[in-house]
């Protein structure tokens, strides 16, 4: 039984440690905020210059001047501060954000990430993704294990233009979790979704990875 998107977000949320400053990408990564454990104090950063993101507003509280990087309306907390885009990316590029959770089109076994363009299709641009993967301490990717055509997204090498070279530390798919201790090491299989067999994961993965540690 593969993990749902909420399961994947919940698994990613376990990687958010007390005191962390975290940037969550657009899409499934945004859901991670809903699964942060009670007692774990995490400050969410949004690259458009907001540090300390609160929940979505009620209808009455909507403020067009308070948005996150996904351009969604959002609220403040008692810790919130605003900075310019240059200062916001100073935090990101300078290594002050401990963790970022992003979506991906492809991840390569060497940690390369592709999530910003498909040649021949309309290119929307990298946004802040290249800055995040280059600057944030630890990068977790949330993605489906295979694409709509059934092709493995965790690959020997990326076929799509890169967002960053050797930048991914952990991959959470609907079937499995892959991780590596550092960026010189290969990924190993850390966990498998309930009732999914190791052979299925192996069959649907093009990348080389190490087996689950005993």
């Amino acid at each position: 039984m593969p993990w749902t998107r909420d399961d994947m977000a919940a698994l990613a949320a376990q990687e958010l440690l007390d005191g962390f400053y975290v940037n969550l990408g657009i899409g499934i990564p945004t859901l991670v905020a809903n699964h942060i454990a009670p007692g774990v104090d995490v400050t969410l950063q949004s690259e458009n210059g907001m540090l300390g993101l609160g929940p979505f507003p009620t209808e009455a509280d909507i403020d067009a001047d308070i948005i996150n990087a996904g351009k969604q309306t959002i609220t403040e907390l008692d810790r919130t501060s605003y900075v310019s885009s240059a200062d916001s990316f100073g935090m990101i590029r300078g290594g002050h954000i401990q963790l970022s959770v992003l979506g991906a089109m492809e991840v390569a076994e060497n940690g390369d990430l592709a999530n910003w363009m498909v040649p021949g299709k309309m290119v929307k641009g990298p946004g802040g993704a290249m800055d995040l993967v280059a600057g944030v301490g630890r990068i977790i990717v949330l993605m489906d294990h295979v694409d709509k055509a059934g092709t493995a997204k965790f690959r020997k090498s990326c076929t799509l233009p890169l967002t960053g070279a050797n930048v991914v530390d952990m991959i959470i798919t609907n079937l499995a979790i892959f991780q590596r201790p550092d960026r010189r090491s290969p990924f190993f299989l850390k966990a498998i979704a309930p009732n999914v067999l190791p052979d299925e994961v192996r069959a649907k993965t093009e990348a080389h990875y190490l087996e689950m540690p005993a």
């Binding site: 209808e59 001047d65 605003y82 240059a86 641009g125 946004g127």
Partner: protein, 235 residues
């Protein structure tokens, strides 16, 4: 006191517009964009603009208005989704685009405004963004050289401005506006409120008056929301 306040946007832009010019604009998505000045530039009919702006607006709002009228020749941006007319012009080759990672774009605008000709960043190393650019090793890591950006004109939106051109932004509408203000050879700011001299606490000013040559009261403050997301009120 030197008069920085202009009665309306056409007067504030008078003499500053010319075909083929470079315009830097503040704003992220549709948040904190200089709506009033964009409309006036549409009206002016100036063409061949190179626009430095994180985004390209939507079809009928923000810089999208200048795309619709084909007044923009080139965009320097990080993300241009949400705009069908943009897509059409880009795919047909009418519009040129220089993609720039968002943090690199913000830093390039800041650098241009601060007399920094170029800087080395890890962002984009090993990707298409770094192709054709110089790289350099620092402590064994590769960095790519990005250059400062300077615009003929910068247009920004602020919450409050005083007659000296001091600006205060509001919440996440700050975004690219302070950097845009610094990187214009001339900077025009539209503000939601003009306050009296001395109304600002000197520690609260985000963008000092030295960067703002002209100021006007914004008449367009629609502040359209792109992604209206809400939670249900707790019962």
């Amino acid at each position: 006191m030197v008069q920085k306040i202009y009665d309306n946007a056409p007067l504030a832009l008078d003499g500053l517009l010319f075909d083929g010019m470079v315009i830097a604009a503040g704003g992220f998505g549709l948040c904190g964009i200089p709506e009033t000045l964009i409309d006036a530039i549409v009206e002016s009919g100036v063409t061949g603009i190179t626009a430095i702006s994180n985004n390209a607006g939507v079809d009928d709002f923000g810089l999208g208005k200048l795309l619709k009228t084909r007044q923009i020749r080139k965009m320097i941006s990080s993300y241009v989704g949400e705009n069908k007319e943009f897509e059409r012009q880009y795919l047909s080759g009418e519009l040129e685009i220089e993609f720039c990672p968002q943090g690199t774009l913000a830093e390039r605008m800041r650098a241009g405004g601060a007399g920094i000709a170029g800087f080395y960043t890890r962002t984009g190393v090993g990707t298409m963004i770094a192709e054709g650019k110089e790289t350099k090793l620092f402590n064994g890591e590769t960095y790519v050289l990005e250059t400062g950006l300077v615009a003929d004109l910068a247009i920004v939106k602020a919450w409050k401005g005083d007659p000296y051109g001091n600006l205060i932004f509001r919440k996440s509408a700050r975004n690219f506006n302070p950097m845009a203000a610094t990187c214009g050879k001339v900077t025009v700011a539209e503000v939601e409120t003009i306050v009296e001299p001395g109304a600002f606490d000197p520690d609260h000013v985000h963008s000092p008056g030295v960067f703002v040559q002209r100021l006007l009261l914004a008449t367009h403050n629609e502040k359209r929301i792109e992604q209206r997301t809400i939670r249900q009120e707790a019962a």
